[in-house]
Symmetry: D2
Amino acid sequence: MQPEDSAELRALYQGFKDNHLNPLWTQLGDLMPVHPRPKAVAHVWKWSTLYPLAKQSGDLVPVGRGGERRAIGLANPGLGGEAYVSPTLWCAIQYLGPRETAPEHRHAQNAFRFVVEGEGVWTVVNGDPVRMSRGDFLLTPGWCFHGHHNDTDNPMAWIDGLDIPFSFQNDVGFFEFGADRVTDYATPRYSRGERLWCHPGLRPLSQLQDTVASPIGAYRWEFTDAALTQQLLLEDEGQPATVEQGHAAVRYINPTTGGDVMPTIRAEFHRLREGTETPTRREVGSTVFQVFEGRGAVTMNGETTTLDTGDIFVIPSWVPWSLQAETQFDLFRFSDAPIMERLNFHRTLIESAE
Amino acid sequence: MQPEDSAELRALYQGFKDNHLNPLWTQLGDLMPVHPRPKAVAHVWKWSTLYPLAKQSGDLVPVGRGGERRAIGLANPGLGGEAYVSPTLWCAIQYLGPRETAPEHRHAQNAFRFVVEGEGVWTVVNGDPVRMSRGDFLLTPGWCFHGHHNDTDNPMAWIDGLDIPFSFQNDVGFFEFGADRVTDYATPRYSRGERLWCHPGLRPLSQLQDTVASPIGAYRWEFTDAALTQQLLLEDEGQPATVEQGHAAVRYINPTTGGDVMPTIRAEFHRLREGTETPTRREVGSTVFQVFEGRGAVTMNGETTTLDTGDIFVIPSWVPWSLQAETQFDLFRFSDAPIMERLNFHRTLIESAE
Amino acid sequence: MQPEDSAELRALYQGFKDNHLNPLWTQLGDLMPVHPRPKAVAHVWKWSTLYPLAKQSGDLVPVGRGGERRAIGLANPGLGGEAYVSPTLWCAIQYLGPRETAPEHRHAQNAFRFVVEGEGVWTVVNGDPVRMSRGDFLLTPGWCFHGHHNDTDNPMAWIDGLDIPFSFQNDVGFFEFGADRVTDYATPRYSRGERLWCHPGLRPLSQLQDTVASPIGAYRWEFTDAALTQQLLLEDEGQPATVEQGHAAVRYINPTTGGDVMPTIRAEFHRLREGTETPTRREVGSTVFQVFEGRGAVTMNGETTTLDTGDIFVIPSWVPWSLQAETQFDLFRFSDAPIMERLNFHRTLIESAE
Amino acid sequence: MQPEDSAELRALYQGFKDNHLNPLWTQLGDLMPVHPRPKAVAHVWKWSTLYPLAKQSGDLVPVGRGGERRAIGLANPGLGGEAYVSPTLWCAIQYLGPRETAPEHRHAQNAFRFVVEGEGVWTVVNGDPVRMSRGDFLLTPGWCFHGHHNDTDNPMAWIDGLDIPFSFQNDVGFFEFGADRVTDYATPRYSRGERLWCHPGLRPLSQLQDTVASPIGAYRWEFTDAALTQQLLLEDEGQPATVEQGHAAVRYINPTTGGDVMPTIRAEFHRLREGTETPTRREVGSTVFQVFEGRGAVTMNGETTTLDTGDIFVIPSWVPWSLQAETQFDLFRFSDAPIMERLNFHRTLIESAE
């Protein structure tokens, strides 16, 4: 229902342009769709492609001050080549060669790392050296200084998750360089944050102030694995413990509040029993999964892709998705759900059980 | 500090492109600047330009189902012609001719209206008719049905504020058509929401559940004006009441929580005494002001523009700004501050007293 | 089921006594009853008795430093003569003769006043003079300095409510003397707190820090009356506004949070239409009502008492109660509900509609 | 400053009595002291006295329906023989003979157990059997069914902590009998609650609703000990980890909120290095300590008592206290601090370092 074309109307529209105006009635359906119609598309990146390219970068691209990180961002095919896995999230594979150091810096953007394979790197967060090992989930909340160093003769790769697109789009980012070398090359088994905080149900009396982000620097695989194992055992005993039949899951939390680890990023770990299929869901906000172990498939928008260890896929807002487990199937997940919930935009629709 | 060009490097970069990847080291400084470097620019729209264009639209553009609203969005010159006053906010002038009706619909986006002049329109929000008069601030929180109708023989214009750009960018929007005519053409002086809620310090016992958005549909000018008047009188008596010397201000709040009226939008009203100049501030997030009454000027990024009734200006993230009041100077303000605060990205820097 | 008596048992019990011990099994049913069995009893004090005794006190008892207040506490007949209206609450009639001053002091205990009749006294709270008039509800949160003075040639009486029994029992009280005369004998119509805060839906920008107790010193009768009137009008129009049919009510709130005015005391005002009877309720915690206007009755524990203006009654924990309105019936109410809710002991049972 | 005695005054006072009134001016100083003046006194109960009396009770007093528990309450010498360790708290030694069962019941009162020595009993909380072993802290939040059974041929004793006096005084208690035998005689090493919740920094995705009390049924000694050990090691490394030099401490928390385990009771564990003396503190509210291991002393109100394993002492409100450690000194602590904090009555004064 648009006004009829006329010389006057064209003059009016030119007047809009000249005065930095733009009418709603010519664009309403695009700007305010019936449901989210993301430009970002559902997409899968194969680890078998990612890792070799990262390794090549290790040969060709130095790491150091300026470039800061040898990180290769996943660029959603719908987002014009920008290194955005979704409109809110950044996901990259980072690669650190033997004995290399990625220098310290800090930024308002929130960051984490997840280790799908390998070991030998320590990330130093506000001076606290944190070991990075297979299955660990590691935090670098906004405005914490951090650098990484590889203490071994082997390279190591992992994935980084950040809120860079959100921060860029909304003009909230600050950045500051730190030391060119990490401030502490010690390689302790457990970071100071873990030693203070990783005792279940216990809070240090010296740490009663709640913090915006979790004070835990590393969520170790041994604990994640044990929690998921117990959920499935409890399910076997007929106890309510899993999210749905055959589907165990934990959320990583800030122990000072019981809530999400960082203000913009949620992180979880999911385990499906062999043969499990999840119902088809739609959610507001974007989600990224990485397969940690096992084989299975994801169906997004009705299209199914098989998945192996290390494969990463993104589910944009309101895209229907479900998972199928061929073997026991372990997946790391992160999303922008805290943004959606804190701003009251969250919605979930469970379409059907498959 | 970029790697040296080579055939291998070019092959690597091509591999990135082919596989929907994009390295961080070629773009870090742009993606993660030292402080926010918004594409949006500081800009002033003159009411003397806006209103005539809106009036012309009234002659040429029908209002009704499909286009929904005769609203003309302010398009920030830095944002490529999109009708975004900032990356997060939408601001439009809306115009409704004599006896016209803008049909009902609802959307996840949060909306408000502010009336700089005129009267005679009622906005019907979830079936509750709300009078729109000069100086009133009116709410349409996300997912409330709403339509407008002009009960008089004169046109009326006002400004709309919404979180459309934020919602569009982050894929959170839902939209639903409602009735073609408004559901209630009554023209009561006070809406039911006001009658229930606008008694200072009193909460209806039937309404003890806190709400995400304010249940008050209209914040009347008479109350805003009285609050500002009292602050300046208290300042005269030597009492702490104003934000800073000569600068009275109120924030519109949700009475169930004492916090912002909607999850994404903050709204305030500011009054400067004649001759007052505010210190220069920088804030994370974007802000829009409309002059309600009086004459003065705004300085943004060191450039000063004089202002009259109805003029609207936008201050993008981290742009330094200050106000100067030639006469007593009344301004309505809205911003995306709740987003910044809830996600912990807020920062303010008071640079200097001018 | 008690152990059989024996010399050994008696020796054991003596051993308990000698060592400051006391076995659970001899007293369980009393200590941990099936439901609350308060020592406090339901009781009504008639204003026609209270006021003359207060007046006599005005003749015989000076007011000043040491005794501090000419306040006569209602002593629940079940509580051994202590001036406790319930185990948690204090309620007194206070009387101030012409031109008298009650000196300033402060205490950790939270206090309020409610004026059933009269005028002419100002209470000065942290230096802010607050007029006391008929129907007003006035706050003195914990640790605020306060004194009262009568600016007229007539005496005035009102009721005080405090958490003295709770504070005494739990050893939380602190007390400090202030000035012997009030610090400001001005008699403004509105206190500074009201001038800053009593604008519906508006928060001074200079007051963004939430406060433990309400910053409003006086909740004026004109607003309370208007709110109740509107609720009944809305009910007439078929709108959801009242608590139950014919029963309008408001809660006095802290505008910084939307919650109760003080951490230990809830205050409300109730209006029943002529002929209304409320359902019979039981609630954990104790409640006090004072009739403000109209005639009616209260039924507590099945016993009905007729009520006139000024009459005060207490409903101990879990005592069944209902109200009947002979005329339009206005009642002020206060209770310890915030204690019960904050400590998760609240429970309500609506037994039946009468 | 009391009125002069006269016939009229005596008549007035008689009028008060006859009408259930009690004037403030005759009792102000007692009711509203300058600082808390608790009737409860500082007191130490020796384990060497408690345990033999409990053992004798095991011989003479049956456990079963009606008496419910073989629990001997510590009766503060200042509280007239009532089994109240303080005005808010109950502390008892409970004793269960070989193969005995304490039947199931539930009550609004919040309860916990702490095990200073022994093992072999399981407490069954809402059907979940929870092992009780040395050093464990075990929860029975309000309104959870619970019973205990001894699976061994040896007796076992432990301490119970509840909010019985507070609940009794404020008339908030409800009580319901359950099964005469516990509902599950299984003796698993870890309860279902622990298996779901005791993974540091991880929350089951099936348990996203926050709970009023902690879902953890048992806080195991192995974790408490490890947390304290790490704090002292971190202190050795010059890191901020302890409350004060030589004083490690943890608070038991509800993992859904990071706050106290139950709405009325705080629980902590403290470890002092050999030779450490704490500063003298005064706090609003009452606290109970039990020595878990080591030798030392407590000074309360200037009086010092030496302490051994199992000894229990109570510190009433505002009583100055400090601890001295002769050896490494481990103490369990519980208090009513959540009451004081939620009602805004908390205050702490650190008087001096000794």
